[in-house]
Symmetry: C2
Subunit: 332 residues, 2 copies
């Protein structure tokens, strides 16, 4: 039996289970020449998918209603009439939330479970790792001994950003939402300091205290009041990387906050949004670097694996209450 998860309604505010619908059918999928039959193994759920569920103009078109959601997926080839893939191969790519699907192979990367666990191809050596590495390098242009602040530090991207910061010789301060995450980032990932925003009254002061030399690079995954608070500590020529704004994705009104312009002009600071595909030509080089660090043990990762294809919508929803540590992945 094949299952598909479609977008039933555009979420208002925080997504609900009823925004998604399961479709089941017993049809046997048959492939033609040049096609593959894929069986889904792991599904990546990511905050940015929230944007595609709205129908606002954006750089990528919104998901259509009553059609499957797509995201990063690791799948196994069950049958192939394609020259480049054979039965048993593993692939990663942007695929539909289906237990089985047919592909013409376009956009699929062959991956090896011998080099790294399959799920890592969705995380630390997948789009997540590339997002962390390329955002930090291309926009942040970090220099040894500078101070790097990372919000959403215990998330998939943030936990990799902080570690890369340490590899590059920066002082790294994180912001996370539970004491357990704080401990993990300090003990397991080598962050120099971490602020628990849920137990901190005055975030601006806490950031000042933990970044006594000011912030040179701020890798921002959250937006909102936390990012406002960071503005008071930015240094001259600071670079603020806008990777995401998870704290406001579910707002039904346009989010407001401090005007950033006076801070930017006073400090000749830069703030830049990006998506990882802007740097597609750098993927091979970046992947080599990330895989190297991973195999040398310099880069660690954590995952929150949710079992069962049917739990994919809930796993996605749980991102917004920070239930994940590191990469949130569904094992189909």
């Amino acid at each position: 039996m094949n299952q598909t998860i479609i977008l039933k309604s555009r979420p208002e505010g925080t997504p609900k289970l009823s925004d998604f619908e399961f479709q089941k059918d017993d049809n046997t999928l048959s492939i033609s020449d040049g096609e593959l039959l894929l069986e889904t193994k792991y599904i990546s759920v990511d905050p940015y998918l929230r944007g595609r569920m709205s129908d606002a103009k954006s750089y990528v078109p919104p998901f259509n209603l009553n059609e499957p959601i797509t995201s990063g997926v690791v799948a196994q080839v069950k049958a192939s009439k394609h020259n480049n893939f054979k039965e048993g191969d593993y692939v990663s790519g942007m695929l539909a939330w289906k237990t089985q699907q047919i592909s013409n192979g376009e956009g699929l990367n062959k991956i090896s479970p011998d080099r790294a666990p399959l799920s890592a191809y969705l995380g630390v050596i997948g789009m997540t790792g590339l997002t962390a590495f390329l955002g930090l390098q291309e926009i942040g242009k970090p220099k040894s001994r500078e101070t790097l602040l990372v919000s959403g530090a215990a998330g998939a991207v943030g936990s990799v950003v902080g570690q890369i910061g340490k590899i590059l010789g920066l002082r790294v301060v994180g912001i996370a939402g539970t004491d357990e995450k704080v401990d993990m980032l300090k003990s397991d990932f080598g962050f120099d300091d971490v602020i628990n925003y849920n137990t901190t009254q005055d975030m601006a002061q806490a950031i000042k205290d933990t970044c006594p030399d000011g912030i040179d690079v701020y890798f921002d995954n959250v937006g909102g009041p936390i990012s406002d608070a960071a503005l008071f500590s930015i240094n001259r020529f600071a670079r603020i990387i806008i990777c995401g704004a998870i704290s406001v994705y579910n707002k039904t009104e346009l989010p407001k906050g401090l005007s950033v312009q006076p801070f930017l002009v006073k400090n000749s600071a830069l703030m830049q949004g990006f998506i990882v595909s802007n740097y597609a030509e750098k993927f091979p080089e970046a992947m080599t670097q990330l895989s190297g660090w991973l195999s040398e043990g310099k880069l660690k990762y954590t995952e929150t694996i949710v079992e069962g294809f049917e739990n994919t919508p809930q796993a996605f929803i749980d991102l917004f209450s920070g239930k994940n540590k590191g990469k949130m992945i569904v094992k189909a």
Copy 2:
């Protein structure tokens, strides 16, 4: 008689005349070897000076209370014991608000009234022109046929930015505060379209209407609600140049507005503050370009000249109600 204008108190909100004080003395200034006696001819009053009147941490130290204000000044050498300058020479530089003063020549540029009117060295071929040119080029990286939006378009920097945009082949839309300014920008400076923000109800819609292909480069001199409204029209990879935020300089509370982060991430857009001295190594090249355009008649300028040294504080205050067209200059 020598007169000096000192900062008497740090302005709260909009500066008042009582924040300044005149000091007069009859002492004859005498120079030593390596020094010059300068007589002030023109004084530049600029919005950014407001920042230096507060004692907030910034890239330049605040003015000290009970000491003279400094800004761009054109002066004539009345006596010289310095090898590089002789009596009668004209110079420009950052100098005190004094009718006469002594200098060791450091930071002074010799200028020629034969090449351009003396006041232009404070404007279109001075810091103003450099600010317009280098901000637009270095951050805006404009490409022919892109759309450039300029706020504070009738101001000293804005009017030059728009003209450079036209020279470079862009579609240029301005924002200004009176119909007279709108007419001037269209008729005299070649802007393609100009919005009067004082008579426009829905700025976001007006910007959409005048920038039907979206905004590729936004040169922002004002900040505040006008800049919020521009966010709705930015294109993918838009560059937002934060040159100033005159609309909020006099706020006594931290200004708030739309959170820019979601707009930046959605469009992979960049927002960067600067001061012209960041690009000091490009001044000679930029000055050659600006002088060339000026002598070819491609670049025009307008000035609001206020007569009388004693009117310098009022001229400065009038910047914030937009009393100037183009560069505001005091003729001492």
